[in-house]
Symmetry: C2
Subunit: 418 residues, 2 copies
């Protein structure tokens, strides 16, 4: 592998004196200039650093992260290490995986949908390295459309569309609509690419069947495409749809992007999937399913075999049991926090059907003002709502991904602070 000297190195060096400029003459994607640099988490980090430096004796409780903390389920670990061993034996080694995912995993995902009363063909399922990749890359197969995105929301929807130069219309979440904006709030009734995240990140609010049906109806009526992000569906406890395909007609207007990250704790393992129904046909008669397959088989080479075996294990009977036990642990944390806010009469969304609690900052405090108060007076680190969009100003996100002990202690501190 060592770089060996080649022919006449001097012969190479003499060329560089032709260098005429310090810039290249190639064009970059100018749409990148329209993306805001997000300083949210670096600003949080620096305020926390400063506080800890000044108060080395204080113990902080971090309820800001959206990342899981419990270890992987035992069946998942075994499946992944067994698959790694398989890759080390000549008779069981596997090379390039199918771009859309191994049939064993797509079958497990299809069976999972069937358990949820939704019929999805294997040819409609595309396994990927995570929901973020698919959410970001899906714009590759779309043209210049008007895009409708709820505010506040997971920043990837906005940024990936800005990178493609698309026109974005924000639809505002608020206390009035319980952070569940509905189609009747849309100004101009026309075809949009509509992003829906339910249960929502960051608000934890989740649409019920009738509300989702209203969105599906709007899409069918206007010829819109819904990109449905169901990454948090495993946290649903109320009688709400776990998939948009539980709504009749969704297979004619909606793509669904889901993930093993929150359900099975795969944030560090990386696996998700996208459903592109064969019934999705664009205005020029193009099949979105065929386009997405072409995109994926051109710009993607499939998911690691051990990771796909791990994902299959998470969907097995034992896997579901072990993964849902972890989900229940986080749910109990969320409930503890929600109880405090209930007793204090503070408005919030989430807390159930979601690992997130989205609360109105007390006494009309700003997001950052409340961040500093929580940090200084209760040593709790959360996330200012305005980091998720303008409509998040004055709101604050706490997460249920801490340990039960820390969450309980945080609740005691909140009890006395609020």
């Amino acid at each position: 592998m060592a770089l060996t000297s080649y022919g006449d190195p001097a012969g190479c060096k003499r060329y560089i004196f032709y260098r005429k400029r310090s810039f290249m003459n190639i064009k970059t994607n100018s749409n990148f200039h329209n993306i805001k640099e997000t300083y949210l988490f670096s600003e949080i980090a620096s305020r926390v650093r400063r506080y800890s430096a000044e108060n080395p004796e204080k113990v902080l409780i971090r309820l800001g992260i959206g990342d899981v903390t419990l270890p992987l389920a035992p069946v998942v670990v075994s499946a992944m290490s067994d698959a790694a061993q398989e890759m080390g034996r000549g008779d069981t080694f596997r090379g390039y995986p199918p771009e859309a995912g191994y049939e064993f995993l797509r079958q497990a995902i299809a069976d999972h949908y069937r358990d949820n009363n939704a019929e999805i063909k294997l040819s409609e399922i595309f396994v990927s390295d995570g929901a973020k990749s698919d959410l970001g890359n899906f714009v590759d197969i779309l043209g210049a459309n008007d895009v409708l995105i709820p505010d506040p929301v997971y920043p990837v929807y906005v940024d990936s569309n800005l990178m493609n130069g698309n026109i974005i219309t924000l639809i505002k979440g608020s206390r009035e609509n319980g952070f569940l904006p509905m189609p009747d709030a849309i100004g101009e009734k026309k075809a949009y690419v509509i992003y829906i995240c339910s249960p929502n990140n960051p608000t934890g609010a989740a649409y019920n069947g009738e509300q989702l049906a209203a969105w599906v109806n709007y899409a069918l009526e206007t010829g819109s495409l819904i990109i449905y992000d169901s990454a948090y569906e495993a946290f649903i406890t109320d009688e709400l749809p776990h998939t948009i395909y539980g709504i009749e007609g969704a297979d004619k207007c909606a793509v669904e992007i889901c993930s093993f990250s929150k359900f099975a704790g795969f944030t560090g393992v990386r696996c998700g999937w996208t459903v592109v129904p064969e019934g999705l046909v664009s205005d020029d008669g193009t099949s979105l399913n065929k386009m997405w397959f072409r995109r994926q088989s051109t710009k993607f080479n499939g998911v690691s075999y051990p990771v796909q075996r791990a994902a299959e294990a998470a969907l097995s009977k034992a896997g579901m049991h072990q993964c849902l036990a972890n989900i229940d642990y986080y749910r109990r944390n969320a409930a503890m926090i929600a109880d405090v806010l209930d007793r204090k009469g503070i408005f919030y969304t989430g807390g159930k059907n979601s690992p997130y609690i989205w609360l109105l900052c007390p006494d009309n405090m700003g997001s950052w003002e409340f961040f500093d108060k929580l940090l200084n007076e209760a040593q709790i680190v959360g996330t200012p709502g305005e980091g998720f969009g303008k409509a998040g100003e004055g709101y604050f996100r706490l997460t249920a991904f801490g340990t039960a002990e820390n969450t309980a202690e945080a609740c005691r501190r909140l009890e006395s602070l609020l």
Copy 2:
């Protein structure tokens, strides 16, 4: 996880009667209409199926695939399964990885470059799930440039640029230039985004230092960007550069995309990396390094932790030793095939510095004509050259990724056939 009934299902159903059309009103990426559907491998598969059905007693030898066949190195397997176990314990579990890769792996890659006499900063290294993803996604940060691509070549360069609507100029490889086209063959001397794959897929031809320096010089002189695909560098045996950063000035004009797929047999594990030097600045003063980081942190969420540990192990002293032993195995296969062609006086490129042998079809046969002859008379499956571009017509690709026994038998058959 079960989809529970919600509120009033009838309330949902009534909406769908608003459905007005069978098509959506959203626009898709019309550039996809310019991409040729590739029937190469499906056509190969169907001809092989037909032949096997008619000749069930015949034993086929497959030298068509570009996929590795030897199992992973033992140290790689241990590292991957150990990391899987870590993910199952609370004290060693890891959530979201850094988008650009863990420092331990970027450090191992930087050390690897240092061994090759190239100084690369950690901030210039971006770990990914494979070279194909990066080659396909890199166009995201580029604008509408003239693109220069050698012919024949790995189809991803052409397809991913067509998807973005870029204008492509092909630069022809031929027997005359040994399938190593040089800048002097460029019609209009101007700034291009230039794709270079060396050692080349499919021809196996590899540029020497002076030839690469000529390309670097052209790029520096015109302000072009070189996208250098070094996925096959581990197969280099002659005194040739293993990285374009062995050429002075390359850090001002070249991105390098490399992979663990061929070096460590990671085609089924999925890991690669891209180097974007901080010295790459576009005409409007934009840093390509910053843009790529923004693209990756928006549309990608990092590589699986066990996979990154496996990749780190492949670059360890023991890993290099075990991986290069596999490379040597393939090299001996390539040499066997090359020997036959040498004795028969058949023109070819590759066979050394590459797992590929790219040969001129004897007796002016067409690629598919020779494919049928090899299949029918020697029961050998290869790949017709025209599958890699117009300049591949009349050429044929054999690979060294078979077993030593099958390759030896194939050589005996070629010996008597040619």
